[in-house]
């Protein structure tokens, strides 16, 4: 069976992006993206879980009975989340404290469950790992962009507190974009995340519309089908 790696990559990063198209994992997406460092921390953790759970699910896909697959996936995902949580506790303790409940809550991130059930359980190991990686990167990119947007609008700074993730060398990465900025609390609060995400989805739809128009002009029909969209949990 031939696997279209290019399509998997493009799906994860753009056409079937977990955050912008499937709208999965909104809880962490909206809750922790108040700054770039939080968003990046959670994005990396989610990606690691996604890759490892896709790998494991794909490895055991022929042994898992259809009827009890979901509890089994949950246990696999929960084990990896626990491992990641311990790693973060060891390496980036301050960030671990800031992200708090949202690290264990990665278990309930529907994007991870969704990819296990929609892709990994039906596909070979290499394709599943790539899918996990690309979905994770696609999710993280949206997290970081939204985090950056909210951080700049909310505090007028960018990349503050990056030392929580990259060590002392990153302490002076902080950029002050607007000196004397009064702060815009709305962007930091959850409603700001909803509005920001809505604007990002709108932007993606605009770009998709442009691409579609150009394709129509060139008269070259290219098949463009996303993979199965699954909403497992809220």
């Amino acid at each position: 069976m031939s696997v279209d790696y290019r399509k998997i990559t493009l799906d994860g990063l753009w056409y079937n992006n977990p955050a912008l198209v499937q709208l999965l994992g909104l809880c962490p997406l909206l809750a922790v993206t108040a700054s770039v460092v939080n968003a990046l921390g959670l994005g990396i953790a989610s990606t690691l879980v996604l890759v490892s759970s896709n790998l494991t699910v794909s490895l055991f896909r022929k042994l898992v009975p259809e009827t009890v697959r979901l509890p089994i996936f949950v246990m696999i995902i929960a084990s990896f989340v626990t491992a990641i949580e311990l790693v973060m506790q060891a390496l980036t303790y301050e960030l671990y404290l800031i992200l708090g409940i949202f690290i264990p809550l990665i278990v309930t991130n529907c994007a991870i469950m969704g990819r296990a059930d929609a892709f990994a359980v039906k596909n070979p190991v290499r394709a599943s790992v790539l899918d996990g990686l690309m979905m994770g990167v696609g999710f993280s990119v949206v997290l970081v962009l939204l985090g950056g947007l909210r951080e700049v609008l909310g505090t007028g700074m960018l990349f503050s507190n990056m030392h929580l993730l990259f060590g002392e060398a990153a302490r002076n990465w902080e950029l002050t974009l607007f000196a004397d900025y009064p702060g815009f609390l709305f962007a930091i609060l959850p409603p700001g995340a909803f509005v920001g995400l809505g604007l990002m989805i709108a932007l993606k739809n605009v770009i998709d519309g442009r691409i579609e128009q150009r394709r129509k002009k060139e008269q070259k029909p290219v098949e463009l089908t996303g993979s199965k969209r699954v909403r497992v949990t809220g």
Binding site: P182, F184, L185, F186, L189, P191, V195
Partner: protein, 351 residues
């Protein structure tokens, strides 16, 4: 033959949107005059600035949406939104507070939902709530009525006010004329009884007249709108009545902890809300019975938020919550249509 289904109200009248908006603008004149008389030039400057911005944002977003500019700009709805927001913003608020508010009202709360007639929330109230949450310091620095400043009118000269709003004058200068509003004073009284607060606070004992006068002016504008049949009596009267009933109940039982009903009716944004905000034909309930439920719920919520909430005045939040509930109220308050024995209520009814 095909019948076109239209949403209510099914009334034919020769009143264009532009004409309605012109009459609403006319009806705000007493309120604006009173605000200017008691709180200085700031209100007028904010209104002009907000209106300019509103027209500019409206034109820009109409162009982006490829809609006809002249048709939509001439209906005046952007100016009414800007005006209602501007009179709610403290007169000395910096220019960028107003700018953010007008942007949110026109671009986000109105046009991202589909423009005039499609917005589920009152744009001016969305903007006000956002500003209050985002800039608590700027948004709670209301000007003291000029009678308290020991000088005659105006509180500050026109040029000084302009400078304060557009950032050429230091904050400290106009901090001397700003202070708590009556609702603020009563909200943050630190264990004193109502009467003790009243005696202690200058705003309450001497400046309250200014707030009463402003409320009376909005009330006059509201009567004008009722007289010209731009609004119906249902929402305003039920809101004022509900607020008065709540206030009377609590004041009657415990006059030391609660403010009297007259105070609730004649301070803050009560009158502005009753006649100019909750009568918005787009975001409120549509049937007369629906308007009564809508108005009364807002009245009760305003009392609850003022008395036990975190903010001294609760008009914006009450209105937004009930905007959210308006479609539901409509569903259950349909009037009986001619030829039917009962009204179609709820989702079970045949459309």
């Amino acid at each position: 033959m095909s019948l076109i289904r239209m949403s209510s109200p099914h009334v034919y009248k020769a009143n264009s949107t532009a004409n309605v908006m012109r009459l609403v603008l006319l009806a705000t004149l007493p309120g604006i005059t009173a605000l200017t008389v008691f709180f200085g030039w700031g209100t007028l400057i904010q209104i002009v600035w907000a209106a300019l911005l509103a027209v500019a944002f409206e034109a820009a977003i109409l162009k982006l949406r490829r809609r006809p500019l002249g048709f939509y700009l001439s209906d005046g709805s952007a100016i009414v939104t800007a005006l209602l927001l501007a009179v709610a913003i403290p007169p000395f608020a910096p220019w960028w507070v107003t700018a953010v508010g007008v942007f949110v009202a026109i671009v986000i709360a109105k046009h991202l939902y589909g423009g005039l007639g499609q917005n589920p929330f009152n744009p001016a109230m969305v903007a006000y709530a956002l500003l209050l949450i985002s800039f608590p310091v700027e948004m709670t620095r209301w000007t003291s009525p000029f009678v308290l400043n020991g000088e005659g009118w105006p509180v500050a000269s026109f040029m000084d006010t302009l400078g304060a709003i557009f950032g050429s004058v230091e904050h400290i200068w106009y901090d001397s004329f700003t202070g708590a509003t009556p609702l603020d004073e009563l909200r943050h009284r630190g264990g004193l009884t109502t009467e003790e607060t009243w005696r202690q606070s200058l705003v309450l004992s001497q400046g309250i007249g200014a707030w009463h006068a402003v409320s009376a002016a909005w009330f006059m504008g509201g009567i004008f709108l009722l007289y010209r049949k731009i609004i119906t009596w249902h929402a305003p009267i039920s809101m004022l009545l509900a607020l008065a009933v709540c206030a009377t109940l609590f004041y009657g039982f415990d006059p030391d902890s609660y403010a009297d009903p007259f105070f609730h009716l004649s301070t803050g944004a009560t009158m502005l809300a009753a006649f100019f905000i909750i009568t918005d034909p787009v975001s409120s309930a549509t049937s007369n019975r629906g308007r009564i439920i809508f108005g009364a719920s807002i009245g009760v919520l305003i009392f609850i938020i003022r008395t036990w909430g975190n903010y001294p005045d609760g008009v914006a939040f009450a209105v937004l919550l009930l905007n959210l509930a308006a479609p539901f109220i409509d569903l259950y308050s349909q009037p009986r249509s001619y030829g039917h024995s009962r009204a179609n209520k709820g989702r079970g009814g045949k459309a």
